[in-house]
Symmetry: C2
Subunit: 617 residues, 2 copies
């Protein structure tokens, strides 16, 4: 099964005679849509000339669409190219007013013909009036705005700063998106040129909700067989864009045959095939979850469903690592002649029990396993396996924190980790269980560390802004950590470690509250919308499982990253410093995180007293 379908493809015509003919041409060559100006150039000129002196008849504006533009299919087959937008930000009030009127009429025409997308080319950062007009239509007109940006500013001189030339268009977009308060009907579209963006610039754009990419025919070269192809560097960038599910627009004419567009489509289909996932396991696990916000599980407070266990048991690497760790611990630490007591605390449906048995069999050790589980439904699943396990396994239906066993464990095995390591209260659970770990007993895992990284993720921010729960305070969404498969985002810096927990913990009293201040230096300009969170857990010695990007265990799929939002996006220039404070707070019944940014600007403390999100003990 291929999860990567062919992108939607369009052709842009800057001037056309007949809309009908153009549509026929495009659809004959298997293109999905057409980008055309919906008003005749003449109409704009007339209006600008006669502004104020007479009113033109409205229908004149879009007479070219009469007949063709009135069928229901038009909404998908046409993308309206909006002309005359530059002058709405003229410093001359008369030019500005005329241009505003014209733009408003163009948009009204697009609406009348049920166009679903309009394209507006942005050529500089002088865009506040244009953006205000867009803002005024967002809740009344139905189409989406596709703002087109070059990948670099055309500089007249050669002494221009290369980084800056690439940065400017992104700054224009950043300004538009902020002015429009991250509205969900607003997207950037990239128009590629012969110069491929630098890696940093690519990453920055890949963090934006890019909806389409315009490929001018002139950036294609011809291969040995006479077909149009792109340079390898272009192709690599395009492969990354395809993963964001962008659409493509071919612009300009085929120099070999002005009406032949199919070779470009063939080429893009060919490139798309190269984006087929190489890792089908990972792909099938993540597909459809890209950037989707999920409230973290609370397996301690809530009993998981069998289905949830089943999903996580499919992890191809996690249990291999546990088996390795148990095996290695057995042979390195224990005498093969003596029985070893292993307690699996939080046994769930039993996968770790199976792995412990396998490890013991492989090492030829005599083990007795206690499977401790509080979830009464999971206990049923455990008992179902009892026949197979025989006397080697004792099933205990108890909360590990209150169970009073008759003997102590040599090895205590648990998997109570959340995306942020401690966020499913592994520390609190294991602290409660270590009473029955022998003095020289070991915990698998014996240590885990959370990691954070500031990220640009406007798509997620937009979702937080617009999908507020009306029954909750306005800040609630921004004070809730989410589990999310981060896809359309840009990592602004290297991840850094935050909180570490080790087991067993012989401190007295044990204090699982934490405070951390972490500083990041941002190598290149971007906008921060929150922090990604990860963990790295040491099972036994250097046998570990990790979702921290630099040490991510291959094929480990059980955990998506965490996302901690911030209430206001912060645009950061290159080499600036972010200073963040994170707290892990504990009360008698709850654990929660609080966080804030204190540099380069100070934000309110997020989630004080766990008011928006906390984890029940």
């Amino acid at each position: 099964m291929s999860t990567q379908s062919t992108p939607s493809l369009g052709i842009e015509f800057t001037t056309i005679r007949s809309v009908k003919d153009a549509l026929t041409l495009a659809s004959a060559q298997k293109y999905d849509f057409l980008v055309i100006p919906i008003i005749r150039k003449q109409y704009g000129t007339d209006l600008l000339t006669n502004y104020g002196s007479k009113q033109l008849a409205w229908p004149a504006i879009a007479s070219r669409l009469k007949g063709v533009g009135e069928s229901a299919d038009m909404s998908t087959a046409l993308v309206a190219l909006i002309r005359h937008v530059v002058d709405v930000d003229s410093s001359n009030v008369h030019i500005r007013n005329k241009a505003t009127k014209l733009l408003q009429e163009e948009l009204a025409a697009a609406q009348y013909f049920s166009v679903a997308r309009v394209i507006i080319r942005i050529r500089n950062g002088n865009i506040t009036n244009l953006t205000r007009i867009a803002a005024s239509t967002l809740n009344t007109l139905y189409f989406a705005y596709w703002f087109v940006f070059p990948t670099r500013v055309q500089s007249n001189s050669d002494d221009g700063d290369d980084d800056d030339a690439e940065l400017q268009p992104w700054l224009w977009w950043n300004k538009i998106y902020k002015l429009l308060d991250y509205h969900g009907k607003v997207y950037p579209v990239l128009e590629l040129s012969a110069d491929v963006p630098s890696e940093q610039a690519q990453k920055r754009w890949l963090g934006e909700p890019v909806r389409a990419v315009i490929l001018p025919t002139k950036i294609f070269t011809t291969n040995a067989k006479g077909f149009p192809v792109l340079s390898p560097a272009h192709q690599l960038f395009i492969i990354k864009l395809i993963k964001l599910k962008v659409q493509f627009i071919i612009k300009g004419i085929n120099p070999r045959d002005s009406t032949l567009f199919e070779p470009y489509l063939q080429y893009l289909k060919h490139v798309t095939r190269q984006t087929e996932p190489t890792n089908r396991v990972l792909e099938s696990f993540t597909h459809g979850y890209e950037d989707r916000l999920q409230v973290p599980l609370q397996p301690l407070a809530d009993n998981l469903e069998s289905r949830t266990y089943e999903i996580f048991e499919k992890d191809p690497i996690k249990y291999i690592q546990y088996e390795k760790a148990i095996y290695q611990a057995l042979i390195e630490k224990y005498d093969q002649k003596k029985p070893v007591t292993i307690m699996v605390v939080g046994a769930g449906r039993g996968p770790l029990v199976n792995r412990a048995l396998e490890a013991a069999d492989r090492a030829k050790y005599n083990v007795h396993i206690y499977a401790v589980e509080k979830n009464p439904m999971a206990i049923i699943s455990l008992h179902a396996q009892k026949q197979e396990w025989g006397n080697r396994v004792t099933i205990i239906h108890e909360d590990m924190r209150s169970w009073q066993p008759v003997c102590k464990a040599d090895i205590m095995v648990s998997e109570l980790l959340g995306s942020f390591g401690d966020n499913e209260l592994s520390p609190e659970c294991l602290d409660g269980a270590q009473r029955y770990l022998k003095d020289d007993g070991i915990s698998i895992p014996y240590s885990y560390t959370s990691f954070i990284c500031p990220i640009q993720s406007p798509r997620i921010f937009s979702e937080l802004v617009y999908n507020r729960d009306a029954n909750k305070p306005y800040y609630a969404n921004f004070e809730t950590p989410f589990v999310v498969y981060l896809h359309n985002c840009f990592f602004l810096a290297e991840t850094k470690p935050l909180f570490t927990f080790t087991h067993p913990n012989f401190s007295n009293p044990i204090d699982n509250s934490r405070f951390g201040e972490v500083e990041f230096t941002i190598p290149t300009t971007g906008t921060m919308h929150g922090f990604a969170g990860f963990f790295d857990a040491k099972l036994y010695k250097d046998i570990s499982i990790s979702i921290e990007p630099n040490t991510h265990s291959k094929n480990l799929i059980s955990w998506f990253p965490m996302f901690f939002p911030i209430r206001e996006p912060i645009t950061l220039s290159a080499n600036s410093t972010i200073k963040v404070n994170f707290w892990r707070c504990c009360s008698s019944s709850q654990v929660w995180y609080e966080w804030t940014v204190v540099e380069p600007t100070t934000l309110p403390i997020h989630n004080p007293t766990g008011r928006s999100f906390s984890i029940g003990k």
Copy 2:
């Protein structure tokens, strides 16, 4: 009647033997409250020493208050001085944890004894943990936090930057207030030193909700009569602080008599008398309205009440200016021998009709006045005066925009101005009325201009954050311009002009929409919370009325400034630039403003399509 009552006064003791004796001493000398540490120093030392090894009995913490601290009066008579706060931000986790526990116990003790205010001295900017602990109590404990700041950092060397030494404490406060999201139970308290703050530093602090001022006895000198007095510069600053209704705290001992505090109280009473308002008219009009947010009147869409007219008719200067303008227009522009037609459009209860008659009498001109008014209730008031006016006045009950008169006006007099000039739709009304102004007729006023200025006003911002209407979207408060008598605020720059309207307006078509981009340079560090708005109106030639601070007409009391909020406070360093965009937008039935900031950061467009606030035509 004095509107300035004596400030509440307290004495701070850093060490005392008996709370009861101290209270007796303070009240005998007419002080209102006492600032004392509520836990014994020894308790803190014990706790820090024994942390983790044993639990001290809780009551020990505040045993000194037993007996004295349990009466209801204590909540007002005592302010709890919190010790040991520095270590909660130690980088050493053990010290930090101990200090946190101690601080939490101190705060719990303050709560137990119903203390209404706690004082915490801030000595550097390393305060995130302290602030987090405060945040965690704000919604459960009842007392207010008074954070005490020096007016300048004590620098060890002489080469320190003077501005910076004054700026640092304010930055600490700014950080605390932002971290606590402008909570209404959090205040700054200033501790004065021998050095009086510079004028900029004074202004910045006067823009904060300063709740109290601590005066160490050592900054007083002794006057010829042997009484303690402050330097003239200190005194001037204190007079400004008294206007913010601060409380005063005397700290330290009287060098002449360690138990005698009354002379300080006498001195402060003496200074307070100097703050008595010199302008009783203005004072009586503004008293009680300081920083109170009012939704602007909409006299066009709503009919005003008689009471509202009555208040505004009390203005001691507005009508004098109108009379002057009409008089001057008559004698300069018209022939004394011919009758002059004056139309008062929007006549209300008739004050401008009276002034026009007085001007004509004084100039000895023969005038006929049409009093045009749409409000049916105001018409009753007009008719009540008809007998007195006789045939010289014709009362017309019509909307000026639709009235069809039989003759045209020489002079059209109106007062349709709002705090922002055009915000009560004077332009739309006068455009509709100018049909019946003679070709060479004049409008009084003939021009008005709105002005804006970025301001720091955390008190107002706090009100907007915490007094949200649960039935409105979360952003509504921040997209509504308010009328407000600005008091506890700091003007970050010079005001600049925005929109101008002139009458009569012979443009065709008339366009009353406007766009303005205004740049401000900020001379000194501050936090912007929004824009103040003003107007300046030209009645006839240079006869004007203005509320713009640089040209404010003396005693003009009818208009308080406008305030345009912004959604996120922006802290600006000295010499930074603010670039703001303002739009006046018009539809067939509504007029509204949209605004945003695009430098140094970009905010969302505020109030798009007038979604949160608009003015009905």
